[in-house]
Symmetry: C2
Subunit: 302 residues, 2 copies
């Protein structure tokens, strides 16, 4: 039987939030519809961080109100504090994603908290999500290296996994915010995290800043990971992380995994067409996607 | 003990041969010297294909005559037929590289030969190299897919490995000319090739056309491969292979492997500086290198 790998599409939130082009709500909804047509059934679509900090996500409640509600399509909303969580619940997000940090340098700059403080806050807000029976997941930022502090001890990832699990996270992800992971480090980190994660699902979030994202994904999949974040067209990044270029492109990940014999449930041709639409119509600037440039092999049906 | 992975630098030959900019012999020699300063000790530096087909390599004999001869630095010259081999030997190449093709569609277009015919010709010219005590290696082109024929049956790679070994090749490489390999296919191919290769060394040559080169390299290294082709700045490609973008960038490979705990003997900072020199001074056009854009982590000493 073909092994299924779930691709969590992060383009509409992590992808768009720092793009120099501010998309209209209408264009965001078209993006979301195109992704659903391609087969995406779980995506980051909204952020309930203060709109002054992330103006591109100021219309998140409206996006959630207008996005098509289809059986099996789940929308994830980002929330970093209690106020954000309440807004995400009110907007009708199917799932909340919260961010813990692996290192204080980035943590204090990005969300004014140390790793422990992000775990403490999660204890509080996870209860509020559970009260509404909405699943809440955790993504750890700078899990493989911090632009200010340097190396991150993977033991902290184990500690954060234990905290996330104890507080009832539905899923725990390691995020390589600045793109410094390598396949061997990914495996070691997963060994440490697995010892603490019990039956909590694990997900990986890689940036391709140093051209290692695809190798890291292959290593993670080989280590048993079944859920991978990716962004149509490779859009996105983090404005607070120096030299962090985009997320790994969904179409590149889908190509590699499907060619490697895995099933993603996503149509490669349609995902490539959506990356082209982002480049030509929505954002009107180049996107970083190898499959958009080269096409699939054998050529996918569009 | 740290495991050593040998990087064969292909920039001065495979990288430059199709670049729109024709470098002067003097600039090629500067490129070679910079690579040696970075720690490269085995590189493709010359091609003895007809100069009408590859005008950028017309000065290969001169490059070989003027390149610094240092203990432990080996220059590889490409030869596809008897005439080319004789010229390569005359020019003083330390090693000859010959190309077999894995599929007739590309083979007939690129060197007017089927896979079997490229193996038959190798039988003849390997003898001539052996007569001069010069090692001769084989690289198989389109080993993971042919732009004209589509899929390549990996059994043919086993057949070609057996032929190369029987004829005394010092090394056998699988080349993903159009960038369609994936890590799982790489492993399967290596299993098949290993059954035929005895103690003949194996090498891998990946293009990053579909963003899979680094994942393929990691898979190959995990499968025991100790020799990897890469090109400073990711320059190069093949004019006869549609949509084939560049080789994988040496600095990206070095970063991933060194960060993963392997030793390459090459200074990352100097390789990045050489990629920058290619972009700013020698070629004056952008090169495709993640490490040149992002820098190492922690920042390498330049």
């Amino acid at each position: 039987m073909t092994r299924k790998i779930e691709i969590v599409e992060v383009g509409p939130r992590d992808g768009l939030q720092n793009d120099p082009v501010l998309l209209s709500t209408e264009m965001k909804l078209e993006f979301i519809s195109r992704l659903i047509d391609a087969g995406v059934n779980r995506m980051e679509a909204a952020s309930f961080v203060h709109p002054k900090l992330v103006p591109a996500m100021a219309d998140s409640a409206e996006v959630m109100a207008l996005a098509p509600r289809l059986d099996g399509v789940k929308y994830i909303g980002l929330a970093l504090n209690e106020r954000g969580l309440r807004r995400a619940l009110e907007a009708g997000c199917d799932e909340i994603n919260y961010v813990m940090v692996a290192s204080p340098g980035f943590g204090l700059k990005n969300q004014n908290a140390t790793p422990e403080q992000t775990a403490d806050l999660f204890d509080k807000i996870a209860i509020l999500a559970h009260d509404e029976a909405v699943p809440i997941s955790v993504t750890v930022s700078v899990a493989f290296g911090d632009p200010f502090d340097g190396e991150v001890d993977p033991k902290i990832l184990g500690m954060l996994a234990a905290r996330a699990r104890a507080a009832g996270a539905c899923e725990f992800a390691l995020g390589d915010t600045i793109g410094v992971a390598d396949p061997w480090r990914v495996r070691k980190a997963l060994d440490i995290v697995r010892a603490q994660s019990g039956d909590m699902r694990l997900r990986m979030h890689f940036h391709n800043t140093r051209n290692t994202a695809m190798a890291n994904i292959a290593a993670a999949v080989d280590a048993g990971i079944d859920v991978i974040d990716a962004s149509c067209g490779g859009i996105g990044g983090c404005p607070f992380a120096p030299a962090a270029t985009g997320n790994v492109a969904s179409e590149d990940v889908i190509y590699m995994l499907e060619r490697g014999g895995f099933e993603t449930g996503i149509d490669l041709g349609r995902m490539i067409a959506t990356a082209k639409w982002l480049e030509d119509v929505a954002l009107k600037h180049p996107v970083d996607s190898a499959l958009k440039r080269a096409g699939g092999f054998p050529a996918p049906q569009a």
